[in-house]
Amino acid sequence: MKLTVFNGSPRGKGSSTRVLLEHFLHGFMTAGGNTYELVYLNRVREGDKFVNLFQEAEHVLLAFPLYTDCMPAIVKAFIESLESLCGREGNPDIGFMVQGGFPEAIHSRYVEKYLEKLASRLGCRYVGTIIKGGCEGIRARPAKRTRKLFESFYQLGQIYGETGLFDGELVHTLAQPERLPGLLAMLFKLLVKTRFFMSYWDNMLKENDAYEKRFDKPYAR
């Protein structure tokens, strides 16, 4: 099985999307004879190459971070470049991976509907959409906190590499929590105001000597 992977993160190689894809692809490669080609959509000047790759692909995985509850603009530009391929005989099957910063899957469910429709618009068999929240900063997390997550992506890739399908149970588990249970939401209402919760941003603000400016409103009239 030959897989063509489009990493749609504007951060490219420095992205959480890349980290998740890496584990998925390690799993994918365990099946004999599997190969893949991975490209980064943030290299926007290579747009023609991306279209050719899609045209020649048998199996496609399009992965991106959630931006404004949707795909980033570079991904939309890529999708627009595929317009002439809509309904073409021999289009690849396509699966999607959407990762977001907030922990709940609900934020990604609306773009999921778009992606399913996109597959049908292109005339591609829709493999499914893997949704994973809570991914902001996963590159910096200690290994023990990401082991389970990475194992799940490895397994997903492994099963996909053998069957060409996303494992429904794994996809479901990864998407949890779908929403915050009411009690937990109440607890987080308090916790988000604590220094611990703000420290992720505060540390970066301090590193950049911008902490005192964190509430700036440069465009207020």
Partner: protein, 183 residues
């Protein structure tokens, strides 16, 4: 009201779309609104790189000195913003999305819980209401319009505002103007 129209039409040959917006703007101005149309395709806009510089380096402003700074300034000082675009491959244009992605300096990195969901905190006291104007191009159907509207409705929570309506350029321009007048 102060109204900003984000014209996400990427195609200069699609004069009909631009003319519709001009007509809408003239009508709104005749009702004493102040209207600014930002023709995004003529602006110097770089893609959001997801660097978070606008949150942790130069809070509230994109680190890249492109025209997104002008868009943010117009946006946050408006009472109503109309996102306008032809439907391309089932969604608003990449051009409009490019501008949309660059609105994140207007919110704050800190978190809050809204409707039992995680969201980012507001940076400003007041945010404009938003609406959507779509050109139903070939191949677009009712389901596409619903999908797009739902995504904008969702994003209204992030943009600390309410989503007011979706209208099509097949609607009489007076109807769209009246809808905005009623806000």
């Amino acid at each position: 009201m102060k109204i900003t129209i984000l014209n996400g039409n990427p195609n200069a040959n699609n004069v009909k779309f631009d003319n519709y917006l001009k007509e809408l703007s003239d009508l709104l101005e005749s009702s004493n609104h102040t209207v600014t149309i930002l023709k995004l395709r003529e602006m110097d806009l770089k893609y959001c790189m997801g660097c978070f510089g606008c949150w942790v380096k130069t809070p509230g402003e994109c680190v890249v000195a492109d025209d997104s700074r002008d868009i943010c300034r117009e946006y946050i000082n408006s009472d109503f913003v109309l996102f306008a675009s032809p439907i391309i491959m089932g969604f608003t244009s990449a051009l409009l999305k490019k501008a949309h992605d660059k609105l994140i300096p207007l919110i704050h990195p800190y978190l809050e819980i809204v409707r039992n969901e995680f969201h980012h905190l507001a940076r400003y006291e007041k945010y404009p209401m938003i609406g959507l104007l779509l050109e139903k191009s070939k191949g677009a159907d009712e389901e596409d319009i619903k999908i797009i509207s739902n995504i904008y409705m969702r994003d209204a929570i992030n943009l600390k505002t309410s989503f007011c309506f979706t209208r099509l350029t097949t609607d009489p321009v007076e109807g769209v103007a009246n809808e905005i007048n009623r806000l």
